[in-house]
């Protein structure tokens, strides 16, 4: 296996192809990132298809296969296609996706017409033109690779030099215009860069799969970072990696076409990113959701214990409850409830009495009191959201009254009294299971409400 790999890598032709696919992968990854962020991923697909008539016309005019002239022809027809797409969107009721599909298919159809015209002509040089539709990386010769590499490097250098401008333009076109950037020029430039990447990719991976080279590495990179500079680097790396994997795999296995294998390699990297990327990946999202659910469930149990204690507090201080009582109060599957209670027992928050009833430990009682306090204050906060706007709309997850300014807590507590949502159990006594002291409102509720509203 390894020997075979080394043998493959020693082959001069493979080395050329490898260099070509790596540079192609980097260039399309980098430019694809811009296309993706501008929500123009499928423009690459459209350009790749629209390049066909341009290539054919270049061939008809020049009379022989020349990647330089093909580039010019493809760039012109690709840009013309994007211009048409824009014109259709701007001047009719037709939406973007329809406009893209329309221009793409009509240009491609016209390209096929030209292709059949070329096939009939007496010119013997037309063989290999088909490769532009499906791609044939293995047929790349040294000279092609030199042109591909040269152009890829030029594209990368332009992107590097104008990175700041392109970044501004991508994220905030209006702002870019406002500070005097030539947005029209930048748009045309970006389109030209993308169409050039498409053209150099055509011979290696073909029309349809070139769209994948622009989309897949970019969308994979999006999972790993939120910063454009890093995203561009990651996308370029993923593009290169796909190029390497695809070229090596296809040269080792007979009859596997390089372009599709490169695309499959990129797709595998995408799937890995989709599942395993930190923060945005499905696995990490799932884990986060699991943790949140678990902590919410725990809080619910604490709160339920507290609520029940508060209810029975007039007659008893034995705050122990059966599992049926807890279940009754908060609809929660019994198995889940039991597992949470055992978990809390391990953490020292609750214990089970001989009677089988559950009771909060001293530590648990403080915790339950705190959680209830927090939840009720949040309740009040949502009732008076405008009044507490300066707290800047905290969501339930990140809300904690201990992080709030003392003044706000004081106001909220006062309002809590007014709405008779004040906690009836004194935490110290509650914790020790002692007789407690319920604080009676000092003034009549009505009067206090007035006072709060006027303040």
């Amino acid at each position: 296996m390894l020997n075979e790999l080394l043998l493959t890598l020693q082959d001069a032709n493979t080395q050329w192809v490898l260099l070509g696919t790596i540079l192609l992968g980097v260039a399309s990854g980098v430019l694809g990132s811009f296309a993706l962020l501008r929500k123009q991923s499928l423009i690459g697909d459209a350009m790749a298809h629209a390049a066909l008539p341009g290539i054919c016309i270049a061939f008809l005019l020049y009379g022989t296969k020349s990647i330089g002239w093909f580039l010019v022809g493809a760039a012109i027809s690709g840009l013309l296609a994007t211009y048409f797409i824009q014109a259709i969107i701007n001047h009719s009721r037709i939406k973007e996706d329809t406009a893209i599909g329309l221009v793409l298919s009509v240009f491609f159809g016209f390209g096929i017409v030209l292709l059949t015209k070329i096939a009939q002509s007496e010119n013997g040089n037309q063989s290999g033109l088909d490769d532009f539709i499906f791609g044939q990386a293995a047929s790349l010769v040294g000279n092609d690779v030199r042109v591909i590499s040269g152009i890829a490097i030029v594209l990368l250098v332009i992107t590097w030099l104008l990175f700041k401008e392109l970044k501004l333009f991508t994220f905030d076109r209006q702002f870019a215009k406002g500070i005097g950037l030539p947005t029209g020029f930048l748009n045309a430039l970006l389109m030209t860069l993308i169409v050039s990447a498409v053209v150099i990719g055509l011979q290696a991976v073909g029309v349809i799969l070139m769209a994948a080279m622009l989309i897949t590495p970019a969308i994979s990179a999006r999972y790993w970072t939120d910063r454009l500079d890093r995203m561009v680097i990651v996308a370029g790396t993923i593009g290169a990696l796909s190029g390497i994997l695809g070229t090596i795999l296809s040269s080792m296995a007979n009859r596997l076409p390089t372009g599709p294998v490169i695309v499959i390699a990129a797709t595998v990297i995408f799937l890995i990113s989709l599942v395993f990327a930190p923060n945005r990946g499905l696995l990490s999202k799932g884990l986060k959701l699991y943790r949140v659910r678990k902590s919410v469930a725990k809080e619910t149990v604490f709160q339920t214990m507290y609520d029940l204690s508060e209810e029975v507090s007039l007659s008893t201080t034995n705050f122990a409850f059966t599992i049926a009582q807890l279940e009754e109060r908060r609809k929660m599957p019994r198995r889940k409830l039991e597992s949470i209670l055992h978990q809390l027992q391990k953490e020292g928050y609750v214990f089970q009495q001989v009677s089988g009833k559950w009771r909060l430990t001293e530590l648990g009682a403080y915790k339950a009191h705190e959680i209830t306090m927090n939840n009720r204050l949040f309740e009040i906060y949502t009732m008076y959201e405008m009044k507490f706007a300066h707290l800047q709309s905290k969501t339930n997850d990140e809300w904690h009254y201990k992080d709030l300014p003392a003044k706000a807590v004081e106001d909220l507590t006062r309002l809590m009294d007014v709405h008779e949502r004040a906690l009836k159990l004194n935490p110290v006594h509650f914790a020790r299971g002692e007789k407690y002291h319920v604080k009676a409102p000092s003034q009549s509720t009505k009067k206090r409400k007035k006072e709060v509203n006027s303040s």
Binding site: L104, S105, V106, G109, F110, L115, A212, I215, L256, I264
Partner: protein, 294 residues
């Protein structure tokens, strides 16, 4: 019937089936999903062959139908897991297509399926491949297949016309009044898949997209009524097919390519000259407003 007539009939059937389905795709802003499905049916066809070892139309229809639905499903899954929709379409269709091409090249010696043919189609061979039952020649099998698909589509659209219409124009209202929006979505996707694969053989995968999108877009610029739009779209499909055939005959070029080109030209003319939504009428209207103001 003559050779040319069969080709025109086949082309027209493609034009009508695709044109009608295309209208809904355009109204639902799913044109690019049609593009995606018309690429991924290649995988469906190859898989159908590998499973059934036969090139019978019916296996192809089933295989393509399944893969078409899978495409729509995967796009939906990716989109709901946070991938923006155009990128989701791009990732799904290119990878399924690449997989199809790999399978095709790996088994190329056994499958009589030419990638070139699959993408460009060869409508010129349609009249030779006839359906014979009990020794009777019933005409090209492609005509029978396309005809059946058209009838199925028409029955489905007729049955669910109201549901499809409401869910196309106002999905939120549709789900509010209890229309199974998801079911309608996948029903349409199945219709797109089977229409694509039935047309695939004659005009090729990529040019199906032209027939799906261009007539519908043209009709969309000419009317505000769904039923009228469907009829115009079907009409544009037929004109493109017949016009394309004669143009191909005159210049000796690819028939499917010239059909797409003619359809594109019809769109361009409509885009400029449409009485209400055209470029020219808008320019005139704007001039009129300016003249009124001055």
């Amino acid at each position: 019937m003559s050779y040319g007539a069969w080709i025109m009939l086949t082309g027209s059937l493609v034009g009508v089936s695709c044109g009608i389905i295309g209208c809904f795709l355009i109204l639902r802003k799913m044109a690019m999903l049609a593009d995606a499905i018309s690429h991924t049916v290649l995988l469906g066809i190859v898989l159908a062959y590998l499973v059934s070892h036969s090139l019978e139309g019916i296996y192809m229809l089933v295989g393509a139908g399944i893969i078409g639905l899978l495409t729509a499903f995967l796009v939906q899954v990716l989109h709901s897991s946070g991938v923006q929709s155009d990128a989701a379409i791009g990732v799904v269709f290119t990878s399924l297509f690449a997989f199809g091409v790999i399978l095709l090249s790996a088994f190329a010696s056994k499958v009589h399926l030419d990638v070139n043919h699959a993408l460009m189609g060869e409508i010129t061979f349609i009249p030779w491949n006839t359906l014979t039952i009990g020794g009777m020649d019933l005409g090209p099998s492609a005509v029978w297949m396309l005809g059946s698909v058209l009838v199925i589509n028409l029955i489905l659209i007729f049955t669910f016309y109201k549901e499809i219409k409401i869910s196309s124009f106002d999905p939120a209202m549709a789900s509010a009044i209890g229309i199974p929006v998801m079911f309608i979505h996948y029903l349409l996707m199945s219709m797109v898949s089977i229409t694509t694969v039935a047309s695939f053989d004659s005009v090729g995968a990529i040019l199906v997209v032209a027939m799906l999108i261009v007539p519908g877009a043209t009709a969309y610029l000419l009317t505000d009524k769904l039923l009228v739009m469907l009829i115009i779209s079907a009409g544009v499909g037929v004109v493109a097919a017949i016009g394309g055939y004669y143009a191909a005959l005159a210049w000796n070029i690819s028939i499917s390519g010239s059909m797409a080109s003619i359809a594109g030209m019809m769109f361009a003319i409509t885009f400029i000259l449409s009485p209400r939504h055209g470029l020219l009428s808008k320019v005139i209207a704007r001039k009129g407003i300016i003249a009124d103001q001055s």
